[in-house]
Amino acid sequence: MEKKLVIAGFGGQGVMLAGELLAEAAKDEGKFVTFLPSYGPEMRGGTANCDVIVSDKPIASPVIAHPQAAIIMNLPSLDKFEPLMEKDGLLVLNKTLIPREVKRTDVRVLQIDAQTVARELGNEKATNMILLGAYAEVEKPVKLESLKNALKHFLTGKKEALIPLNEKALEKGAEIAREFLGGK
């Protein structure tokens, strides 16, 4: 098993947190994992993406040239990563901010109005967790439980109160993905 995921969006959308959460969960499951961030010098608004590889074996290159899966949180990221996707790769899209259809016909596409769903759950900032939950349900790099358990490493102190919301967002994402899988 080797799962190569790219998560992409703009700074402030929680791209890095989603990637780090997956990495932490994979580590907790005793798997090999690399998390490679790539971003500009700005704190917010710049493009941000990260490569996460989860594997049963030691990982050589941590750089992903052709993603097997990508969580895409805004339009510029879709423009950038759509052409790079592996054939039959999975695109998990934040439909709320992506006003166009995917052009390629040889990839799997899971479109989620994630920001709206997150808002309904109580906080738009949980968009990243909805998309991550959906990805994890389809590709199964780690168990959903492991992702939920790993939240406590990141949401500490005052942020601890946000754990239930983020758990719910991961579950909601997984639920939407199950409908997607069942509906095929």
Binding site: A23, K27, L36, I59, P62, A65
Partner: protein, 354 residues
């Protein structure tokens, strides 16, 4: 060994240095390694050790020099432009025969360059950088785990040979995260102050003097010869390398650091296609594994050197191969990280046909 923790390379570097008995950090911030001083700034005071953010890199390296003269385990960390500013201090440290550890998380250059990963400071690290005939031991780990493990060795080597040890990593290793396991803490109470340290005369019958100055050429030549004798000993005893799938290899990649890690994927791609490709990865880029590479020249059809620079280690590979076999090169510049697919594509062009 403890349990595995998921850590950013830049932070793991600091934690490893602390566990290896580093008592003092002096430095000046620069991207992409700011998490290293940040981590030191939090942990060193907790442990009653020194963290000092200097007013510049020039000041920082001279503080390192001062601490090193007391035989204390001391470190500075920086990235390419900051390392350039420290070169004068490096040269003084070399001719003073004092030990320290310097981490360079290389970024794209020349000049202010960018903050992306690069390997273009290879010449600077291995061939001197500062003035005069000197060398530092230069370690080039390729994973965060290896960086952490080598940090302990870096301090041991610095103590043993009274020499500066450079940990030559790049921005990618500083920024990426992977699970790491740390070795046991070094018991700093057991680290003895060396005989030569300038810590006050005390009960000694003589004053210890450390200097890089000798105004008479005959005397300075003697100092130089002593340095060269030390370097010879290091060359004989401290060469380290990894030979990956080289036993039956018909072709050899040569690469260090991050690129070597990517090159392992290239080896697997070639092997999947039935091509016998291996990798020679120097772990010490100074001293360079000349003999080992020369020996492999009798075995392989050609060498293919890959770097994130314009072919700097390439020169050492060529010197080692000494004309026995062709040495080809591929590289990316300015902070661009080559992909395994790209390197394999270039390799296949060299093999031809297949």
């Amino acid at each position: 060994m403890g349990e595995k923790v998921l850590m950013k390379g830049a932070e793991a570097i600091a934690e490893a240095a602390i566990r290896a008995g580093c008592m003092a950090f002096f430095g000046y911030p620069i991207t992409p390694q700011n998490e290293t001083p940040e981590y030191f700034s939090r942990r060193m005071p907790e442990l009653g050790r020194v963290f000092l953010q200097a007013e510049s890199e020039v000041a920082a390296i001279n503080m390192v020099y001062g601490a090193a003269c007391t035989g204390t385990r001391v470190i500075t960390t920086s990235s390419s432009p900051g390392i350039s500013l420290m070169q004068e201090g490096f040269s003084y440290i070399a001719n003073s025969n004092v030990g320290c550890v310097v981490v360079n998380a290389m970024r794209g250059g020349p000049g202010l360059g960018d903050i992306a990963p690069a390997q273009a400071d290879y010449f600077q690290a291995t061939k001197g950088g500062g003035h005069g005939d000197y060398h530092s031991i230069v370690l080039a780990p390729h994973t965060i785990q290896e960086t952490v493990d080598l940090m302990y060795d870096a301090f041991d080597l610095a103590d043993k040979y009274r020499i500066m040890v450079v940990m030559l990593v790049d921005g990618l290793m500083g920024q990426m995260m992977e699970p790491v396991e740390f070795k046991e803490w070094v018991d700093v109470k057991k680290l003895k102050t060396p005989e030569w340290a300038t810590v006050g005369q005390g009960d000694r019958d003589h004053r210890n003097i450390i200097t890089s100055l000798e105004i008479l050429p005959d005397g300075l030549e003697k100092m130089n010869l002593a340095l060269q004798a030390k370097y010879k000993k290091i060359k004989e005893n401290e060469v380290r390398l990894e030979e990956y799938k080289m036993d039956d290899a018909e072709y050899a990649l040569t690469a260090f650091g991050t690129v070597a890690r990517i090159a392992k994927t290239v080896v697997e791609m070639a092997r999947a296609d039935g091509i016998k490709l291996g990798l020679i990865r120097p772990i010490t880029v100074w001293p360079f594994p000349e003999k080992e590479i020369n020996k492999r020249a009798d075995q392989v059809k050609f060498f293919f050197d890959v770097e994130m620079n314009e072919g700097q280690m390439l020169e050492d590979v060529k010197l080692a191969v000494n004309g026995k076999k062709p040495v080809h090169y591929y590289g990316r510049l300015g902070g661009v990280v080559p992909t395994a697919e790209e390197i394999y594509g270039e390799f296949k062009k060299l093999v031809g046909g297949k």
